[in-house]
């Protein structure tokens, strides 16, 4: 079983997890889904590392495994518990519409990829479209997710998309950059978490629901 | 073009002649009106007697009037008489030294009118104000039409210099008349009563009546001042008639400065003025005075005539 096919399958799985996140009614399910997604990314990293013998990719895979598969999801779940939102929250737009949009995004990405023709260096022809699709879908999650946590999850998801693209289209970004990016992500998530809890504690509302500033 | 030029002295002579004949024209008009209304009426020289009487009298001045009030009659008279200097009386042809043209003439008359109106406001009575306001209204309806009539003839001659205009028509004026001239003249006939302050626009004979225009402005003047104003209005009248005659039938030998020529010209001028005066008298005694706000319609007739005349000239 050759590397390209593996990457293709992983890409498909990633898209599937993304759909799960989109459709997830309860937030903690979405968190599990994104953790799974990160795990898939890590696996993809490992596969590419064996395929290309690029040592940096091992490191990246490791970091992804530890940080994005274990640490950050735990942080999120902790926040979820602190905010004890268990019940279903109705999405901003009906789930059907969301999925329809998702389909549009995917189609657009593949159309785009097709218009480009094969990208030299890319592991497979599908790497780029899948990457674009993942990134955009992640943002779609943020746009449609009702709560702040949905948005944080969506942010992860789209970051994952970028990482996947970076790995499969180039042999990953330079290590130092990769680490810097991940550090930034961690910082951002921490700041967001603090904000969410702060608002929850001061005015008992979800920060993503605030809409007093307008016009 | 044709015509040797009139010396300055001659111009002054004509001016004096014009001014001295002014009251007579009024007298004639009054007399004719009286006759038409089957009255005896005062003699034709009555205006002169009035003037002399007024210049003998003392002055009563309104307490609110400023120094300007005393200057008004002087300036008005001066402006009107100066206008008289611009009318060719017995001879057409340009003066040796250019003085003024039809526009300047109308300008001087307008100046006189403006000052009269201002003076009327000075005394600060309702009559003066009313007279001034209405006079200005009529004036600004009349002046453009006058200007257009002047233009309708000037376009043909290419100049607004009255002497040259007259000379340009030459002696064969009646043969040279075109439709435009008839229309222009008609417009002039409509305007004349308004410009000379007579029925159907104004009523020179009444005092203390709300319909009056010009007389209302004179209300506060007295003695010599009033005399000046009256003399000015006499002059204004004859100047206007002179303007009409110069524009439309400049009959009068344009060359030859000898005595006979002079007498001929004077006679011709006298007859022309007489005819126009009689016309005014007839109009005055055969029409009723219009309501003030019907006046624009009345003058509108003149406007249309003048505009058509111009159009005919140009098209």
């Amino acid at each position: 079983m050759s590397t390209p096919t593996i990457i293709d399958d992983l890409g498909a799985l990633l898209l599937f997890t993304m759909i799960l996140i989109l459709a997830a009614g309860q937030i903690h399910r979405a968190v599990y889904a994104v953790a799974a997604q990160s795990l898939l990314i890590a696996i993809a990293g490992a596969v590419l590392a064996t395929a290309t013998g690029n040592r940096d990719l091992w490191v990246i895979a490791g970091i992804t495994l530890t940080v994005k598969t274990i640490v950050l999801p735990c942080v999120l779940l902790w926040v979820v518990r602190r905010m004890n939102v268990r019940r279903e929250v109705e999405p901003v737009i009906p789930i059907g519409a969301t999925l329809a949009l998702a389909v549009m995004v995917v189609v657009m990405s593949f159309h785009l990829g097709a218009s480009l023709g094969p990208v030299s260096q890319a592991i497979t022809g599908n790497a780029l479209p899948v990457g674009i699709a993942l990134t955009l879908l992640g943002v779609l999650v943020m746009a449609t997710g009702k709560t702040a946590l949905n948005q944080m999850v969506g942010l992860f998801a789209s970051e994952n998309g970028i990482f996947f693209t970076a790995m499969s289209v180039t042999q990953g970004m330079p290590l130092i950059i990769e680490i810097g990016v991940i550090l930034d992500v961690i910082l951002a998530v921490l700041v967001m978490a603090i904000m969410v809890l702060r608002v929850r504690s001061t005015v008992d509302a979800d920060i993503a629901d605030l809409d007093r500033l307008r016009g | 073009m044709m015509a040797d030029e009139k010396s300055l002295g001659f111009v002054v002579l004509e001016m004096i002649l014009l001014v001295s004949l002014g009251p007579l024209v009024t007298g004639i008009i009054q007399k004719t009106k009286a006759r038409l209304q089957s009255r005896q009426g005062a003699g034709v020289l009555q205006p002169y007697r009035d003037l002399i009487k007024l210049f003998r009298k003392g002055t009563v001045q309104a307490d609110t009037a400023s120094g300007l009030f005393r200057m008004v009659p002087v300036l008005v008279l001066a402006a009107t008489v100066a206008a008289g200097a611009l009318v060719p009386v017995v001879r057409a042809g340009p003066p040796a030294f250019p003085m003024g043209d039809a526009l300047l003439l109308l300008g001087l008359l307008a100046l006189a009118r403006f000052l009269t109106a201002v003076g009327a406001l000075d005394a600060g009575g309702a009559f003066g104000g009313m007279g001034a306001s209405r006079e200005m209204m009529v004036a600004l309806l009349v002046e453009p039409v006058m200007m257009m009539v002047v233009f309708s003839t000037a376009v043909a001659a290419g100049t607004t210099e009255l002497g040259v205009l007259a000379a340009h028509r030459g002696t064969s004026w009646i043969l040279a008349w075109r439709a435009a001239d008839f229309l222009g003249f008609a417009a002039m006939l409509v305007l004349l009563p308004a410009e000379t302050g007579r029925i159907p626009v104004d009523n020179p004979d009444t005092h203390l009546e709300l319909t009056m225009l010009h007389e209302g402005m004179l209300l506060e003047h007295s003695g010599p001042g009033l005399g000046c104003m009256l003399l000015a209005s006499h002059t204004r009248q004859i100047v206007t008639l002179g303007l009409v005659s110069a524009l439309f039938f400049p009959l009068g030998p344009v060359d030859g400065a000898d005595v006979t020529g002079f007498l001929l010209g004077a006679g011709a001028f006298a007859t022309k003025i007489l005819v126009l005066a009689l016309y005014l008298a007839f109009v005055e005694s055969s029409y009723a005075k219009l309501r003030l706000f019907r006046v624009p319609q009345y003058l509108g007739i003149g406007f249309v005539c003048a505009l058509t005349a111009l159009a005919l000239r140009i098209l």
Partner: protein, 488 residues
């Protein structure tokens, strides 16, 4: 020398930030603040001199070229002005309780970290580092936006951090794509992300990939730069942040994002031809100018008004780049500086006004000229300059942008641009005129004007007027060289 400066420069604000944690005394904090900014200015000038004489210098992932220096100069000057302004502003803010005296040091610390990240952004040669620094600015400034702690501030901060993070993650995606094709053409390892290295191979790059990459960067960094329609977070954040921070956000931060766009524009221009990136910039610029207009006209909140104005002016910069050509680019860069200075002044002046009247509602602020003659005058001047009236700087840059548009023959764009400019002029003058003239309200505080805010404002006003009357040869040279970098 210059190379050392490259790593010293980011260090200065970082150290200042660290020093802040050593004390709680407001005076000492302000002193450190001003000192740090002054040193930063001095070192920057030295660096500028070096570069002007000896050409661009690079050190690892950092590189000082004329293009970056344009933005760096703006950054440090504004930082100094902000430091001076902060002294008096802080005193007042603490007095009325907007700021808690014990938490001042964290505030100062964050401000300087924020500055440090921006310094790295403008000095970054490696596009990855550029991205990291940019995200860094987002995180630090997001905390500052929410600093007042009431839930309006937090709402603004949340919107700010979420939307801009999305934006620059798009930016990262674009970066990845470009570096991917660069790596394919022999720029290996860390070079694959080094701007100067990529520029060497730029003409060979795969145009398709670069196109997509540029669009991702355009939208991504454009979000951060406040280009419409990705601008929605901007008025919220800029109106909720503490005034000095608003000045930095509007004055510099959005310009740094623009620098990111410009870096990629040069790559895209080399790879897919000049016309491509300029037309994208043109569209976004025009949209921004148009979208900003109604919100400026119907605005009631003073600081939101200024926020939307930033949208308009970023749009004008984008228009200048989009009209292209040396003149347009020169004008755009000049506009970056002019707008930065003027907008900071505007925020300062309105900050004092808001402090006087205790509200941001422009319907309440009346007769400022009567209660604060100098502040009122400065606000009026800033407004006039923003509206593009000579002898103030923005007139000159708008003139150049307009000329570029006319010479490029973009008549529709020019027509739309001009009509919007006139309408915005009317709106702005209407708002500010109503605030400055007339009879002051009762609750307006009549206390005399403090020196430090005035000093900061007068400094900026002087620069604003000076640049409106002349362009010094040194600045001109800098802009010329920077223009060459972009236009080639």
């Amino acid at each position: 020398m210059a190379e050392t400066l490259l790593w010293v420069l980011p260090l200065v604000p970082t150290v200042t930030a660290a020093l802040m944690l050593t004390t709680r005394d407001r005076r000492i904090l302000s002193a450190i603040d001003i000192g740090g900014s002054a040193i930063l200015v001095a070192l920057t000038l030295v660096l500028a001199g070096e570069v002007a004489s000896g050409g661009p210098r690079s050190l690892g992932v950092l590189r000082a070229d004329d293009l970056g220096l344009v933005f760096l100069l703006l950054l440090v000057v504004l930082t100094l002005a902000v430091s001076i302004y902060t002294v008096g502003w802080l005193k007042q803010a603490v007095a009325v309780g907007n700021m808690k005296a014990e938490s001042l040091r964290s505030y100062f610390c964050l401000v300087h970290l924020f500055v440090a990240t921006m310094v790295v952004t403008v000095l970054a040669d490696n596009l990855g580092v550029l991205w990291i620094a940019m995200e860094g600015t987002t995180i630090t400034s997001a905390v500052l936006v929410g600093y007042h702690g009431h839930h309006h501030g937090l709402e603004a901060a949340w919107k700010y951090i979420i939307v801009t993070t999305i934006g620059i993650s798009f930016g990262l995606f674009g970066t990845v794509l470009v570096s991917a094709t660069a790596a394919a053409h022999g720029a290996v390892g860390a070079d694959a992300m080094s701007w100067s290295a990529i520029m060497k191979v730029a003409p060979m790059l795969d145009p398709g990939i670069v196109r997509i990459g540029f669009i991702f960067v355009m939208v991504g960094y454009g979000t951060k730069a406040g280009l419409a329609p990705m601008h929605l977070w901007l008025p919220d954040a800029h109106s909720q942040a503490p005034t000095p921070v608003s000045a930095l956000l509007s004055g510099v931060l959005i310009k740094c994002a623009l620098l990111g766009i410009i870096r990629f524009q040069t790559i895209a221009a080399a790879a897919c031809g000049r016309a491509y990136p300029t037309q994208v910039l043109l569209v976004f610029g025009l949209v921004s100018v148009v979208v900003a207009t109604p919100f400026i006209l119907a605005q009631r909140d003073l600081k939101r008004l200024l926020g939307y104005h930033s949208v308009e002016h970023v749009g004008i910069v984008a228009l200048g780049l989009g009209f292209g050509g040396p003149i347009g680019t020169y004008g755009a860069l000049l506009h970056v500086i002019n707008h930065g200075v003027t907008k900071a002044l505007a925020f300062f002046a309105s900050g004092t006004a808001i402090a006087r009247y205790g509200t941001r509602d422009m319907r309440v602020i009346r007769g400022l000229l009567a209660v604060a003659p100098i502040g009122g005058t400065l606000l009026m001047l800033a407004a006039l300059s923003l509206a593009g009236v000579p002898p103030f700087s923005i007139f000159v840059s708008e003139l150049l942008v307009l000329r570029a548009g006319i010479s490029a023959g973009h008549w529709v764009a020019v027509a739309i641009f001009l009509s919007m400019v006139v309408i915005i002029f009317a709106g702005l003058l209407h708002h500010v005129g109503a605030m400055v003239f007339g009879k002051p309200t009762e609750e307006a505080s009549r206390e005399p004007e403090a020196w430090s805010p005035l000093l900061g404002m007068v400094l900026l006003a002087a620069i604003m007027t000076l640049l409106g009357l002349t362009i010094p040869a040194s600045l001109d040279g800098l802009l010329q060289r920077a223009t060459e970098i972009i236009v080639g």
